[in-house]
Amino acid sequence: MSKLDQTATIPASFSERHAGRIRQMRLYGHMFRGSFSSMLGLTLVGIFLILAAVGPWIVPFPEDTLGAVHMGSRLLPPSTEHWFGTDEMGADIFSRVIVGARTSLWIGIVITGLGALIGVPLGIIAGYKGGFVRACIMRLTELFLAVPGLALALAIVASLGPGLTNCMVALAIVWWPGYVRLVEAKTLAVKEELFVESARSIGAKTPWILWHHILPNCMSPIIVKMSMDMGMAILAAAGLGFIGLGAPPPAPEWGAMVSVARSYMPDWWWYSFFPGAAIFLTVLGFNLLGDGLRDILDPRSRAR
């Protein structure tokens, strides 16, 4: 075996070693750029992320986002000073909408993150193990899926009391089953692939197979779903905010803003219009992005 005792040769450059990956990425980029709606989604999400990152530092009236009250300038229409007008406490709606991006981003990340964190492992285990374990997990999942999410979240928040944390917990509780279902189906398919059997034939243990073979192959639909869910989670949280179970004042949360503002329609239309439009654009962005990602990452996957 002496001929094996050489050192491994390393090819010249990074780009050479990863030529395949790079080409793949370029292909994705090309396909993405070709689609108007995907680019629109990417742009919207990009703007949203930037606002969430730097919002508090760029808004004209940062103190208004922390609950400043200016009884003298209540419900002013949009003007050069207050771009989006002011609300019933005289706070600058523009500032509050911009800073609200943070709250929404946080909500979206926590809910989808928790949902995926619970759902993906369960889904993989259910799909891979089969038998009794799968029956248990899937039964539970179906149970949760049969219950209307919003109604269940409503009950949870009503019971725990309103507030951002409770709202996120409630939504995460109703969110994970979607992931179990998705990942389970995907795992069932991937499990049948020869390479999984091949890994078993070389003596790989189950965790190794799950981590190295199943999970990476489930990743595309998970990414697509998470992108879509970011939007939907923000929307759902706004819905709870609308019923009055969302973020407490003075936190600038879009759903809560629309909720308060709805009684000021139509004479003070700007109050509800701008936060509503912010929700709409953000969710639209994430959905378009997810749709675009689906087209390139996972063209054959069924919706959901």
Binding site: A68, V69, M89, G161, P162, P249, M265
Partner: protein
């Protein structure tokens, strides 16, 4: 309004449902409004300032010791099914209220037992109280008389007809029940030959529909489109805006609902009177009025202005940052640096906004405020124990009589655990004086006691004394006969005298 074959039907747009109509079980404003329409009581509150007017009882007398009350009933009153309203019906109704031990029972149950009510003759009924109780009469407008025959006929398992009365009525009032579609509309139909007649005579409407419209925007739309004749519960700004619309009139009257930010005076930082004073002086009281666009007035005493025995207490805190800082310096938190919870009922807009004002004002004291909206049941549950009662709670309280005891008793130690006793205010002197004033039959003595009580409470600052919000409705100008009386509940309107003037 809606034209029907029988005449015009007035439409009232309201946000609150009427789940249970039974007069001895529930009495929130929407419920009471319909109850007042379909039932009669011995007496009725009317006018501003409110006065107790004879109704089923045409006159009454009190014994000298203040313990025995005898009522003489009108003889022409009859229930909707034609039965006469007799002394027995009155006795039965009070017995029912007391035995069910729900709703209105708390008003009388400590002073009156069912055995204490006796039928003297067909139209005379006698109440014997356990102890003299000055406010007795002021509670009677809330005790409606039901028809015992009908109720007994519909009794299930000795439930005093509770199930049946939930959406049926057995009353003698000016209206009887029409369509009853929970969560959609509740209709009452005027009784043609109401025993007391109709003040508007032939203009009497065919009926009234109480229509559920939950969203203020929809309410406003309904009003503007003429789908509703009178609505309640618009935002302050809407009232200002809609007042400019031709043909729409805003009813704006001084009410008796007090607002206070009650401190937990026993536990936590707010047990420190200096901190409480500091907060009270830091509060921007004008902003409270601003929130109502001026349709409110500041409290000058724990008692509302329209209440008997009210005095203007001198030195009640107004915004004064210097004084606030002085008090803060004297407190255990001279530099602030604490966070206080402010709990309000979720969905109560004004309470939320006052919370924002508070938050803004207390920044000057370097105190942070954590605004927590809570569902009413949860809030009450937390407030039931001194350990879980929040630092600050916003409380609106509407007294149900003009007797000062109705408010003063909130500061009695016996009120601990009740939502209005959430401050856990403890001043033995005050409690003693309240007890004395209750039992006294002589108004002069009482007035003096109440003056003292008011001053002492203000001095102890168990709460930030807020404002009295005005009661407002927006109505079409053709809706006539609107009357106001401060003792009624927030949105409640007396349906009896209303009518439509068509041009």
């Amino acid at each position: 309004f809606e034209r029907t074959d029988a005449g015009n039907v007035i439409v009232f747009g309201g946000r609150q449902a009427i789940p249970v109509l039974d007069p001895h079980i529930r009495y929130d404003w929407s419920t009471r409004m319909i109850q007042q329409g379909v039932y009669d009581a011995l007496v009725k509150y009317e006018g501003d300032p409110a006065e107790v007017k004879p109704w089923l009882a045409e006159r009454w007398e009190t014994s000298d010791d203040g313990k025995t009350w005898t009522f003489h009933l009108v003889e022409n009153a009859k229930f909707h099914n034609g039965d006469p309203v007799t002394a027995e019906a009155v006795r039965y109704s009070f017995e029912r209220g007391l035995k069910l031990n729900k709703g209105v029972a708390w008003m009388l149950k400590d002073f009156l037992s069912p055995e204490g009510i006796t039928v003297v003759d067909d139209y005379t009924v006698k109440f014997e109280l356990k102890a003299p109780y000055a406010p007795f009469l002021s509670f009677l407008p809330w005790w409606f008389v039901v028809n015992p025959q009908q109720v007994k006929a519909n009794e299930v398992d000795g439930d005093y007809g509770q199930k049946w009365l939930t959406d049926h009525a057995a009353g003698s009032g000016p209206f009887k029940l029409g369509r009853w579609e929970p969560n959609v509309l509740y209709e009452v139909i005027s009784v043609e030959d109401y025993w007391k007649g109709w003040p508007q005579g032939d203009n009497r409407p065919a009926g009234v529909i109480y229509r559920m419209i939950r969203e203020p925007a929809a309410q406003k739309a309904a009003l503007q489109r003429g789908e509703a004749d009178i609505v309640e519960g618009l935002t302050s700004d809407d009232y200002v805006q809609i007042a400019r619309v031709p043909n729409i009139v805003i009813e704006d009257h001084k009410g008796m609902t007090t607002f206070g930010i009650k401190f937990n005076t026993q536990k936590g930082p707010t047990a420190d009177i200096n901190l409480r004073k500091a907060i009270a002086y830091a509060m921007d009281y004008d902003a409270m009025i601003g929130i109502y666009n001026g349709a409110a007035s500041l409290e000058t005493s724990p008692l509302p202005d329209a209440m008997k025995g009210h005095i203007e207490v001198e030195g009640i805190p107004r915004q004064d940052l210097a004084t606030a800082k002085e008090y803060l310096a004297k407190s255990a938190y001279p530099d602030g640096g604490i966070t206080l919870d402010y709990v309000h009922v979720a969905g109560l807009e004004e309470a939320r906004r006052i919370g924002l004002v508070l938050l803004d004002n207390l920044k000057a004291l370097n105190i942070d405020v954590n605004i927590k909206p809570e569902q009413w049941p949860n809030m009450v549950a937390a407030g039931a124990s001194v350990d879980t009662a929040p630092n600050m709670t916003s409380i609106f309280a509407t007294p149900i009589s003009t007797d000062p005891d109705a408010v003063a008793y909130q500061y009695h130690k016996n009120s601990w655990g009740q939502y209005y006793g959430i401050a856990y205010y403890d001043n033995p002197d005050v409690s003693r004086m309240i007890d004395e004033a209750r039992a006294a039959t002589d108004w002069e003595t009482r007035a003096e006691l109440y003056a003292k009580i008011q001053k002492q409470i203000v001095a102890d600052q168990p709460e930030v004394f807020g404002m009295l919000q005005n009661r407002r409705w927006a109505r079409q100008d053709y809706l006539q006969g609107f009357t106001f009386s401060p003792v009624r509940f927030t949105g409640e309107v007396d349906l009896y005298p209303l009518w439509i003037k068509e041009n």
